[in-house]
């Protein structure tokens, strides 16, 4: 968009898709911040600095795609849990459809074997 901002294209892609990875992790129910962050950082290929997930969570909450609630934990202080809102579920569903088509289209073009096979 802006001149001089064409950085590593994969890192731009990662940035754009990370929030949907977060939403996807919440698909099956609520999770607390640390749990979410550790799962993401241990997913091979996502390569995120754990700390940068928190601003993302904050933005998702402000955009009302997730809601938060404080709950007691068995040990230690209360934890802030994140769950999908209806808008979050819709955003995730829309993205999942688009992503499948996008991924297939890019794969078809950039993967040589696949093209030869068709």
């Amino acid at each position: 968009m802006e001149p001089g901002r064409a950085r590593n294209p994969v890192s731009q892609l990662r940035k754009g898709t990370l929030e949907y990875c977060v939403l996807a992790l919440l698909r099956d129910g609520q999770r607390y911040g640390f749990e979410l962050v550790r799962t993401l950082s241990e997913t091979d290929g996502l390569l995120v600095s754990e700390g940068t997930i928190y601003p993302l969570l904050s933005r998702l909450r402000r955009d009302e795609l997730v809601s938060t609630s404080w709950q007691e934990s068995e040990a230690g202080p209360p934890r802030r849990y994140y769950q999908l809102t209806d808008a979050g579920k819709r955003a995730l569903a829309d993205f999942s459809d688009e992503w499948a088509r996008f991924r297939d289209a890019v794969d078809a073009l950039v993967t040589p074997q696949r093209r030869a096979g068709r």
Binding site: R5, E50, G51, Y54, S58, G76
Partner: protein
């Protein structure tokens, strides 16, 4: 261990708080408290004084500057802004509409106003001022209506103005 007593953690949180001074206060407080809670969780099973574990947890978090940059960059592909800024063209639109410039101000107000609204819409929340831009547009149309009315009046009564 309790992170509130660890000097490395203290230092890290202080740096984070300082770096986050560019964020709106509520976001800054939220961010620092989330990171503190994170470290508390990450180090809950760690014996006090285990410097290697603390360093590892801090390294996994990334630098305070990196975290704040992520907070200040609201959408991928958008220039990183600090909070939201009022669109300059929106201000210019109202200014030229008010200054009038014998009717030219009204035309400029419309050009600036519509362009400002588009920029604000495309900014994904980094810019504000759509109300101002709309005010500029309305004033611009009023200005043009006045010019048109004046021209018509003069055309209909060419001698009365003399």
């Amino acid at each position: 261990m309790n992170v509130h007593t660890d000097p490395l953690v203290d230092d890290y949180l202080r740096r984070l708080d300082a770096a986050a001074s560019t964020l709106p206060t509520d976001q800054r407080d939220e961010l620092v408290s989330e990171i503190r809670d994170h470290l508390q969780e990450a180090l809950s099973q760690t014996p006090p004084g285990d410097q290697a574990a603390v360093r590892n947890a801090l390294e996994r978090l990334g630098s305070p500057e990196e975290i704040v940059a992520a907070a200040a960059d609201p959408a991928p592909g958008q220039p990183a802004g600090v909070g939201s800024q009022v669109n300059v063209l929106a201000i210019a639109s109202v200014a030229v509409a008010v200054l009038w410039f014998a009717g030219f101000g009204a035309v400029l107000a419309l050009v600036f106003g519509y362009r400002a609204r588009r920029q604000i819409k495309d900014s994904a929340g980094t810019q504000t001022g759509s109300g101002l831009a709309t005010a500029g547009i309305i004033l611009g149309w009023i200005g043009i209506a006045i010019v048109v009315t004046a021209v018509i009046l003069i055309a209909l009564h060419p001698n009365k103005s003399q």
